[in-house]
Symmetry: C2
Subunit: 114 residues, 2 copies
Amino acid sequence: MQKDTIVAIMSSSSPTPPRVTPQGADSAVEILKVSATSKPVAVAGAIAGVVRQQSRVEVQAIGAGAINQAIKAIAISRGYVAPGGLDLVCIPSFIDISIDGEERTGIRLVVEVR
Amino acid sequence: MQKDTIVAIMSSSSPTPPRVTPQGADSAVEILKVSATSKPVAVAGAIAGVVRQQSRVEVQAIGAGAINQAIKAIAISRGYVAPGGLDLVCIPSFIDISIDGEERTGIRLVVEVR
């Protein structure tokens, strides 16, 4: 089993400049870091909040437990924003995340309005 | 840890009639069942194959390990079909899956061309 070291939901703006990201996602986008112990409903609320304001958000997760919570959160958030006419899709890709100086491969889920 | 009972990749057409599904997905769509032991690259190949022919596919997974493999597979499959001009997105929702007569909650990931 993989160990999930990312902590609870933590919103932070990406410091890198826009238009220079490798995998097709803007980096000026808000980032939500999800762990295996994150509550899907809480993360879903955060996703909905950011998406309503900026039409997209990036969810990062490392390890099966964290990815599981992230996907549940996205499924729940679709229901939160649907009444407002927003249809959310997610675009998964791999990312290298540095944690305590150690490089780990994680999953980036870009959530955006279709 | 959750136990993943769904076995390896298994492609099957959904037996239910179209246009009567609850969560916004067509049910005439091909279904790929992914387990915690499924190989992401193999599942990615299957996703790419179905998407090229039918522009969408439904990936089902139960448990964190299976969802992890499914998301990795979708990330990989995006790279497989991108050279053909296909931009894949995924739409997660919850489903009740019956396994050996037992109802379990799983995740449905509808993968489709944007």
